[in-house]
Symmetry: C2
Subunit: 199 residues, 2 copies
């Protein structure tokens, strides 16, 4: 154990996801030798984030107010909602520049092993949004894994009862990838989802 | 890019050693959903460390004052100094419980590729300590790699001129390890350093 303040910092850093005791120690020692200014800037960024940032009342995305900048933007297509698991997925999709609709962040995926069922996700809020709005399409963009697929299946059934058309992101080969290195499941999905070439 | 405060935090986290952009984002999102209290405790730990912690004037170890707790402790053997590269090495050795002398932290190892020569290390301070004190032995505990060995060789020559006996930590098989998995160099050193079994 180190002297008080250093050990406190190591403990706090070690509680962050993906940072083990060794990394926590390495970061703490880096911070000890770093400029005081740099370290205080990090401390300040932490405080500001907890003071200013919250989750959008409408879509659950991160926001620096009650409503996020996407929900506030009148230029976004209000008739289409893309459903994602986490707020960080919104950013990933935004970066593609190929989607101009709204979002809905579920806050996770259905995962019975971890005790996460539909009630733990923001599915009820999605249904409320749909009953109030003139939404023409829901794009389900949950992760392409077991939990994400289960969530997509559950959602598509719920949406069916409301007669809202739902789509799912295409599964297939990653662009820039190599056929040789594609796993069997992905390649199988790429065959299933093949598209006629239109000339 | 995220909205202001979140992106600021991601940038600050990403500047830490061993944390790439993806990890920084993951940690930032974890902190967004974490209890405000926990996050502020981390921010506070960062501030306290920069306010209170400094390096010991004598040995270069971390200290919450001018002199570290080891240099202050009169029960420590004042006639023996263990030379290490980094302050964190002090903690590693302390944990073994098998050393009761003092330390001297060099602040690194000789590494010409990175432009670190003897002048960039706290070697001059070590020599000053030796001229003032009645030190009977120096244990060189630099890392068992190229830079550490170079530093040990350099130090042992310097100490030779002062007629202070210097020793180097034993190299050999790690306890609890398996002979089969030892690398050739380590096994070679273990042969060189073999000890007669005394009955």
């Amino acid at each position: 154990m180190y002297e008080g303040a250093v050990q406190d910092l190591i403990d706090e850093l070690g509680a962050l996801p993906g940072i083990g005791p060794k990394s926590a120690q390495r970061i703490a020692f880096h911070l000890l030798s770093a400029d005081k200014e740099d370290v205080l800037r990090l401390a300040h960024a932490l405080q500001v984030v907890k003071e200013k940032v919250r989750f959008c009342d409408i879509c659950g995305n991160i926001a620096e107010g009650e409503i996020c900048h996407i929900c506030q933007d009148p230029r976004r297509d209000q008739t289409i909602i893309c459903v994602v698991e986490e707020a960080k997925d919104v950013e990933v999709i935004e970066r593609t520049g190929s989607y101009r609709g709204l979002y809905h962040v579920l806050g996770g995926a259905i995962d019975p092993i971890r005790g996460i069922g539909p009630d733990q996700l923001r599915i009820r809020q999605l249904m409320t949004r749909l009953s109030n709005n003139e939404v023409k399409e829901i794009i389900i963009a949950t992760d392409p894994n077991i939990e994400g697929e289960a969530t997509a299946t559950y959602l598509s059934r719920m949406l069916d009862t409301l007669s809202v058309p739902a789509s799912r992101l295409a599964l297939g080969l990653p662009v820039g990838g190599d056929l040789e290195y594609a796993d069997e499941v992905t390649l199988g999905r790429a065959f299933e989802g093949r598209r006629i070439i239109e000339n």
